[in-house]
């Protein structure tokens, strides 16, 4: 024995593990130094020791969509973990992901198709068969289509991504012929995306924490919730602890992100843009900018300006935004702004991050553009450690019938006419108000998916009245797993499969600039009669006599996508490998940076023409331009023909446009904004409501916590167990001025209504503000989320032994009742953080 070397020893350890697995008991326990614990990938029943079946899949709790592993025992999904092979998640998972099994087995889940029998909203239902449901729905849809009005079928989705989006939207809805489609991005972060499209083109900024030296945060709560949470949050904390990377967070609220930052700098709501501009002012004034990057910047009307001219234009524009000026507006001291600016400029590389706290305001567009400016003038754009362009995989997928009809649409998805300059990501909060208004027409069938329109938008009361009114919308239908506030107002409910019971290919952005291909596979058969909407639309199309030709199930669609991708992507290993491993990335791929520096060679320019006004080389044929002589800027969707940007004597890929005809420069000077009457350079716009505030009024701000997902998780018992109440946070000074003590009942009144909730007096918020999270305050979310048993047809699953262990009887108060639906005039972002309220003891 003494002669055994360590390698043999390891073997012995493994052998003893195998013996244990065979039920040999503990007597052959491995010895110290021999046990090399594996981090995951396997799980066992804690009572019997039996190994659980591990199946790679992908989470769907939030939009991060982490690669995951499901563990199944006797046909039941018992446990989720991350996928240890994933380069995005590095084998880690958050509380939301861990609560996955609750999504399948919560007792109030909708398991059978249901049809309304009472008045709309009355809550009386009968169970129907799938055949009855789809015969009725396809009959109604077919009638509209046959009459030449497919646009009267409106589809409104909350989250629909990757293969689900391609199959349902690009194949099914396109083949049906309706363009009356709305997403939900403007109540999320649509404004941020538009601001990016107006500056560097295609949206999504990845923050390269692995390589950065300094993090400057405006209104992102990345450590609790983010569009790419697990991949980025773990890298941020790792950078801090292992490399001493400093984080400075500007926020109204001391969030968990602020708590894990080196500095929290409290700021008055809606004024982040003023700090950003003042920081840029300090950097330009002190010549701390990175001159080399100015080559790719547009900072003047003249697209051929020299770097010095651009620098001088920015210096001049920014000269009024001094730290002293910003101090008066924001409450942040001029010296702090000055020192933060210098720290940011000198830490190379540094990354500026931003999210809704900064963006979901009247002036959010220019706050985000200001962040782009800060990154650009310091050369922290698409560089290792900076603000990088998001990289995701490029799946190939079947597109369905070639000769699709030209889509007809009701103009309901992009806001009231003339109210939003660039609604590139829709203005979904105005969909129901516009239906009420009626001028853009009204749908005869309104279908929503993974969405709860009367809860997640503002003005909950107004939206309910619209959705409830059969005269405004004759037929309402949803595909859902949970009976929520909106399903209550449906005429028909289809029982959706959960994400753990369905197939997808997935494509979320990688934190390390190397794309990862990954899939979601069904871990178990759907409960009851639940069906994935992806499968349902294939059958609906058949019933309407318009077959999609993409396979008979979503699984087949996903499989076909794998076959197509294998032909297009070098090294892609195919469906069997993906089912076994769940994830794949090209092991030889290098992280992608500096794509703007790529020169466009002459042969690529032969079908392109130079637009002198913008310096853009574009291919009018590719853009389907009928009159190219109108020029690049004035031709509808000319951006689709973009080839490169002429800079000096060379042509670069630079920053290709998306959704709007931007030049190929990183446009700090936006000709597009100027055209619509806005300032072309990032500018500070005060928020009109805030300018008129009286001394006794407060800002209302909303936020997310680490253990819930939007409005989609309160039925998950392990999450609601931790968080089921949302008192309004108030600073002690704010509370004392109003005679309010911690725990007091308070009335919060806005111009559109009032709510009664409780006060939480806390040091973790700036004075003059009340902050209320929006996950809870559910009226319908089953027993765990709302205390109400859902009237689901076919009977609820009451086998959950935890029903008698539930100990909470408070469910919070939703703030969206008193927040109006109101848009950023540039980008259509719902202005979540601009509402002015009075707060009194109730």
């Amino acid at each position: 024995m003494a002669g055994l070397n360590r390698r043999n020893f390891m073997k012995f350890g493994i052998a003893s593990g195998a013996l244990l697995a065979a039920g040999e008991g503990l007597k052959s326990q491995a010895l110290a130094g021999t046990v090399k614990l594996q981090m995951g990938g396997k799980d066992f029943n804690f009572k019997t020791g039996t190994e659980r079946k591990a199946i790679p899949t992908a989470c769907w709790s939030c939009v991060t969509r982490c690669a995951a592993m499901g563990f199944v025992e006797d046909g039941r999904l018992v446990k989720m973990e991350s996928n240890p092979e994933s380069i995005r998640t590095l084998g880690k998972m958050c509380s939301k992901g861990q609560s996955g099994p609750n999504d399948v087995y919560f007792p109030d889940r909708i398991l059978y198709p249901m049809k309304r029998v009472g008045k709309r909203g009355e809550g009386k239902w009968k169970r129907i068969t799938w055949d009855t449901a789809l015969t009725e729905l396809s009959g109604r849809m077919k009638k509209l289509r046959d009459n030449g009005h497919p646009e009267k079928f409106m589809f409104h989705y909350g989250r629909m991504k990757a293969s689900s989006s391609k199959l349902i939207k690009s194949v099914f809805l396109a083949n049906y012929g309706t363009g009356t489609i709305s997403g939900h991005t403007s109540i999320c972060e649509g404004g941020k995306w538009v601001a990016q499209e107006l500056t560097w083109g295609k949206h999504y900024d990845n923050w390269d924490f692995d390589k950065t030296k300094f993090v400057l945060n405006f209104g992102s709560n990345i450590q609790e919730a983010h569009t790419n949470h697990i991949p980025t949050s773990q890298r941020l904390i790792r950078a801090k602890v292992e490399r001493g990377v400093r984080t400075v967070t500007f926020d109204v609220r001391y969030s968990n992100t602020a708590a894990k930052s080196d500095e929290w700098i409290p700021i008055k709501p809606g004024t982040d843009g003023a700090v950003v501009l003042a920081i840029c002012n300090v950097i330009m004034k002190n010549n701390l900018y990175d001159k080399s990057f100015f080559k790719f910047i547009r900072a003047t009307e003249n697209v051929n300006a020299s770097a010095d001219e651009k620098i001088s234009a920015l210096k001049s524009h920014l000269s009024k935004y001094t730290p002293k000026w910003a101090e008066k507006i924001t409450g942040v001291s001029a010296s702090k702004i000055e020192s933060t600016a210098k720290e940011f400029a000198k830490a190379k590389p540094a990354v500026v991050i931003s999210y809704r706290g900064a963006v979901a305001h009247y002036n959010g567009n220019d706050t985000e553009r200001g962040c782009q400016m800060l990154a650009a003038i310091t050369g922290n754009i698409d560089n290792p450690g900076g603000r990088c362009r998001g990289i995701g995989p490029h799946w190939k997928y079947p597109k369905g019938p070639k000769d699709k009809p030209k889509a007809k649409k009701l103009k309901l998805a992009h806001g009231f006419p003339g109210t939003v300059a660039y609604p590139n990501h829709g203005v979904c909060q105005q969909v129901l108000p516009m239906i009420k208004d009626g001028k853009a027409g009204r749908p005869e069938i309104y279908m929503w998916y993974c969405h709860n329109p009367v809860y997640v938008n503002g003005d909950n009361q107004g939206n309910r009245e619209v959705l409830k009114d059969e005269k405004m919308i004759p037929f309402t239908v949803t595909s859902n797993i949970v009976y929520d506030e909106s399903s209550k107002l449906a005429d028909m409910i289809l029982p959706d499969a959960t994400y753990l019971e369905r197939w997808d290919w997935e494509d979320m952005v990688s934190p390390n600039q190397v794309p990862e291909y990954y899939i979601r596979q069904a871990l178990i058969k759907p409960l009851g009669e639940a069906r994935d909407l992806g499968d349902v639309v294939i059958e609906l199309a058949e019933k309407m006599g318009m077959p999609l030709g993409v396979g008979s199930t979503k699984e087949e669609y996903v499989k076909k996508s794998h076959e197509m991708t294998a032909k297009a992507v070098k090294g892609f290993p195919g469906f069997d490998y993906m089912k076994k491993h769940g994830v794949w990335h090209d092991p030889n791929a290098k992280p992608k940076y500096y794509s703007h520096k790529k020169e466009i060679k002459a042969d690529k320019l032969k079908d392109a023409i130079l637009d002198e006004a913008t310096g853009v080389y574009w291919n009018p044929k590719k853009a389907h331009a009928k009159n190219p002589e109108k020029g690049y800027a004035e031709t509808k969707k000319a951006y689709k023909g973009y080839v490169g940007q002429k800079i000096g004597e060379k042509v670069y890929k630079s920053f290709p446009p998306d959704k709007v005809n931007k030049s190929g420069y990183l446009e700090l000077y936006s000709a597009l904004l100027k055209k619509k009457g806005f300032a072309p350079l990032p500018t500070y716009y005060p928020i009109p409501e805030h300018e008129k505030m009286k001394p006794d009024e407060l800002h209302l701000t909303t936020y997310k916590v680490a253990v819930h997902v939007h409005s989609r998780s309160t039925h998950r018992k392990w999450l609601s167990e931790i968080y089921h109440d949302n008192p309004g946070w108030m600073n002690p000074k704010t509370a004392a001025d109003r005679g309010i003590k911690d725990g007091d009942k308070i009335k919060v009144k806005s111009p559109i209504g009032e709510i009664v909730t409780n006060a939480r007096v806390t040091e973790k918020i700036v004075p003059g503000v009340i902050a209320i999270s929006y996950h809870v305050g559910r009226e319908e979310s089953g027993r765990y989320g709302s205390g109400r048993k859902s009237p689901v047809a076919g009977g609820a699953n009451d086998n959950d032994p935890d029903l008698k262990n539930k100990f909470w009887d408070t469910y919070g108060m939703h703030p969206n009742w008193i927040i109006p639906n109101s848009d950023d005039p540039i980008n259509g972002q719902q202005r979540w953080m601009d509402t002015v309220v009075t707060v009194t003891r109730a």
Partner: protein
């Protein structure tokens, strides 16, 4: 093969023994014996710099065990202090301390358990031990055998940390006790660790704030961290309730002195060991 790989077992034991002697002066002969016998000493190190309060661990545990609502094997507490504009908030993950038991070498829960030795004779490596309703395995895990439990709940009272609770999902099996519920707590995921897989909470922890491993293996991450941060020498600053002298093996890296700000009393210990925030 690297030089490190070719260390013989004897060398490992030697180094292990030397390490134990150096870092844990005052290690009792019995423990040294276990170490010499090659038994692991499992420990959980919680790095408070790294915990971001996501509660992934709490829910992972719920799922791993199907734990009843209201009952917890692990929790994360918010520790808050300071005034605006400089408030402070820290996250303090808590679990069973898997106490060694200090000078007596018997942790209080085992000491108070009337059935602590009523189970089978077992051997872990060369080290003999006996199971019980609550017992300590030679590798340091404090484990439960509910087929032996009589439901006296003295262990719940005995644990100064409040990590034990009545488990409504476990019925006792001893005659006359069939109507009573059992007791639950963190087991360091013994069922995973025995098969070479890290505990569920460690697996999921995105901050890598939970580090689990064998202190008797000098090359393990926990042994290295214990040396770097002197976790075993400074138990008054690296463990909860050092005054209880239970010698926890849930050790904290706590450069900002958060443990000292966190209070557990006999009256509040059970209420405190719950996971909830607003």
């Amino acid at each position: 093969m690297s030089k490190k790989d070719s260390i013989s077992r004897r060398d490992i034991i030697k180094t292990g023994g030397a390490m134990a002697a150096v870092v844990a002066a005052g290690l009792l002969p019995k423990k040294a014996e276990a170490a010499k016998n090659g038994t692991p000493r499992w420990a959980m190190i919680v790095d408070l710099r790294r915990c971001i309060g996501c509660r992934g661990c709490c829910v992972a545990d719920k799922s791993e065990y199907g734990a009843a609502l209201g009952r917890y094997n692990t929790v994360v507490k918010n520790v808050e202090f300071g005034k605006y504009p400089a408030p402070k908030k820290y996250f303090l993950p808590r679990l069973c301390n898997h106490c060694s038991g200090g000078e007596k070498d018997v942790p209080p829960c085992v000491e108070k358990c009337p059935e602590a030795k009523s189970g089978k004779r077992m051997k872990l490596g060369k080290t003999r031990y006996r199971t019980g309703a609550t017992y300590k395995r030679p590798d340091g895990m404090i484990l439960l055998d509910m087929s032996l439990c009589i439901g006296c709940y003295k262990c719940i009272d005995a644990c100064p940390y409040g990590v034990r609770s009545i488990d409504p999902f476990v019925k006792l099996t001893r005659p006359d006790r069939e109507k009573d519920f059992g007791v639950g707590k963190c087991t360091f995921c013994q069922h995973r660790v025995d098969k070479g897989i890290a505990p569920s909470c460690v697996n999921t922890c995105q901050g890598r704030a939970r580090i689990f491993g064998d202190l008797n293996d000098p090359d393990s991450k926990v042994a290295k961290l214990a040396r770097e941060f002197k976790l075993l020498e400074n138990r008054d600053k690296t463990t909860l309730l050092p005054g209880e002298k239970t010698e926890p093996y849930n050790l904290y890296i706590d450069p900002d002195g958060i443990l000292a700000r966190y209070k557990i009393t006999k009256e509040t210990k059970l209420e405190e060991f719950k996971s909830r925030f607003e």
